[in-house]
Symmetry: C2
Subunit: 389 residues, 2 copies
């Protein structure tokens, strides 16, 4: 196990009706906030009105900024920063899924920075301070409600980049599984894929003597695997949603990477796909991960065998380790298919004409490598994308 530092101060308020406490929790931080959200869905469902009513009751003044799209855009972040500066707003309440929360985090950093917030995403500057934010989660997927991360897409150049900083932990996150009842099945499936990917990125490591966290990761993967079919069958299954939602937060709150180095190549590759084709992150991951596994499997066959056996209940054959590992990957693909997702680029309407371009962008024209479990250059990424065809 490696040395590590673990710190996560986000307060989680979990359960039925908890969204009605948005106002009282927000009021502890500010009376003048930005209320940030995405699609018209929160309006139509009446959720936005409920949150506004809760804010009103707590005498919190809010300025609305909706319109966040999946793969949240830098232009809207800039707009949010201007609004906050103009109105002296000092707290952001994000109502939505990972895209809305990531956009809120970007605005929170940008308001207190004299340069362009995109500097942080390009790594040319480090955030020193950020406004506090709170979240009301509507889509279990990205884990951003209790993570240090934000991912933003810059329209010019189709660049999708991430920032990680302790400053970005939300002060509080309200998680009411009931808010997820009306999610479209496709979005539920993409969320499940995203959560599963967060767990697998951490699981496939070269760090040794990490059996404790291995087991916690496996337990969380099994929870996702077991609950998604229930959600898709009955979208009002509170008990399944509550397990799923809490597992989704734990998957990405930094606990499950303590003492180990995760891989993250599949995320990097998927960011190139969704940066260009604007596919849903989870749908892209369902395509990239199995291909990545087929390419890297032999690097540590024992780890793949353990994963296949413990998570996917593959019958262990110690005299055919590769067969055991392959069956695990097959079951992962089968899982994706069972929840309605494709596992090939063609399922995302992606032809082969820009594979090399994505491999090159991902490695800054082959000047850097990605992935920690197996280090990948542009050529290796191209091969993985070919395996995904």
């Amino acid at each position: 196990m490696n040395n590590f530092e673990y710190y996560n101060p986000t307060r989680i308020i979990f359960g039925k009706d908890t969204h009605n406490q948005a106002g009282s929790y927000t009021a502890k931080y500010s009376k003048n906030i930005l209320l940030h959200y995405g699609s018209s869905f929160v309006k139509q469902s009446g959720l936005l009105d409920k949150i506004k009513s809760s804010l009103d009751k707590a005498n919190v003044n809010y300025t609305e900024l909706g319109g966040v799209k999946p793969n949240p855009r830098l232009s809207l972040v800039h707009e949010g920063i201007s609004i906050c500066k103009e109105r002296k707003i000092d707290f952001i309440l994000a109502l939505g899924g990972g895209s809305v929360i990531d956009s809120a985090k970007a605005i929170a950093m940008g308001v207190l920075y004299s340069g362009d917030v995109w500097d942080f995403y390009m790594g040319t500057s480090q955030p020193k301070k950020a406004l506090p934010i709170g979240t009301i989660l509507t889509i279990p997927a990205a884990g951003s409600e209790s993570s240090t991360g934000t991912v933003i897409t810059k329209e010019e150049g189709d660049l999708k980049r991430a920032v990680n900083s302790e400053l970005l932990y939300p002060q509080f996150s309200i998680l009411n599984p009931e808010l997820a009842y009306s999610l479209p099945k496709y979005q539920v499936a993409c969320g499940a894929t995203d959560i599963m990917a967060h767990l697998m990125e951490r699981y496939f490591t070269n760090t040794t003597h990490v059996s404790f966290i291995d087991r916690l990761l496996e337990s969380t993967m099994i929870t996702i695997k077991n609950t998604v079919p229930k959600l898709l069958k009955n979208s009002n299954d509170y008990d399944a949603w509550s397990q799923f939602m809490w597992a989704g937060t734990i998957a990405h709150n930094n606990l499950l990477n303590t003492g180990r180095v995760g891989d993250w190549a599949s995320h990097d590759i998927e960011h190139e796909i969704s940066g260009i084709y604007d596919v849903t992150h989870g749908a892209g991951l369902a395509v990239v991960f199995p291909a990545w596994m087929k390419y890297t499997m032999k690097h540590d066959i024992n780890r793949f065998v353990q994963w296949a056996s413990r998570v996917w209940d593959v019958n262990l054959d110690m005299f055919d380790l590769e067969g055991t590992a392959c069956e695990g990957i097959r079951r992962l693909e089968e899982f994706y298919h069972s929840i309605g997702l494709g596992t090939r680029l063609i399922d995302l309407n992606i032809k082969d004409d820009r594979l090399q371009e994505m491999a090159d962008k991902c490695t800054s024209n082959n000047t850097k490598k990605i992935g920690n479990f197996v280090s990948l250059d542009s050529h290796a990424i191209y091969e993985i994308l070919c395996l995904a065809q």
Copy 2:
């Protein structure tokens, strides 16, 4: 799953040589601290000197207060409070195991309170503020390094009582598994028993639809079960110690009771035993828990069967659930024996003459019940103590 709030802001600094950072982390909070510790062991091992040297380098002024005993005493807490008030100390650094940390937490509450700190333990007053504390953990067991709890014994009346408050989360805790290398085997075993008990108290619940946290609890129990024999065989096994130590913290940092109600009767019963007989907490738990299980097993045989099968690898017999559960309890007892602990009151030199007294104290003379999984009155506790004979 129940609604819940989860919040744990303690920063964990984990790994080799991390104790050398005690000074720099402490200096972020104060330059005038109480350095609190226990036995002469930290002196003899040279650890105390290393911590002092680290504090000196960071220009932190410290007043020493050693002498904390297992089952930490109120009288020393009072002494600590006087010292802090007198010297205007505003931060406490605890160097030791759960007893030292619990003592530090008590002092931290008492310094900022006009009444007697024991009021908080008797529940006649609630803490409103407390000094910040930091810890350097030397004994993986109590989990106090990242918990809200403190347990103190008042000498007059042999009263052992607990306080829980968010104010008591340490600001930081330094966990270096190497510091545990020289622990006596008996103390390692008692620590393992304490950790196992924290997990079992949470596991045995009447809350339904808690499979995610069930699995995390099972994973943590398996980790303890698998690592202790390695530690006892080779006390310098860093890899085993690191898994064990981190699992011990996670076992009690409130994550694993999210959304469920734990039992805690065994802890209450053990507190009466160690309050009177001054036995080590973990040794007392090894006696109480199997007896408690035999008494409560039939209340939810399925939960015991799941635990026996998943944690203790008992071969599942769906046509003899009771036999499967009993075999799990037998393996738990076998585990305790294998690490050198007894599972009967006589092993603690406790005869039967004060069993009724303990049962009565535990229930305030049968005016209240304890335990959430099964509610126990004085008579039931007496029966459990008889089963432990």
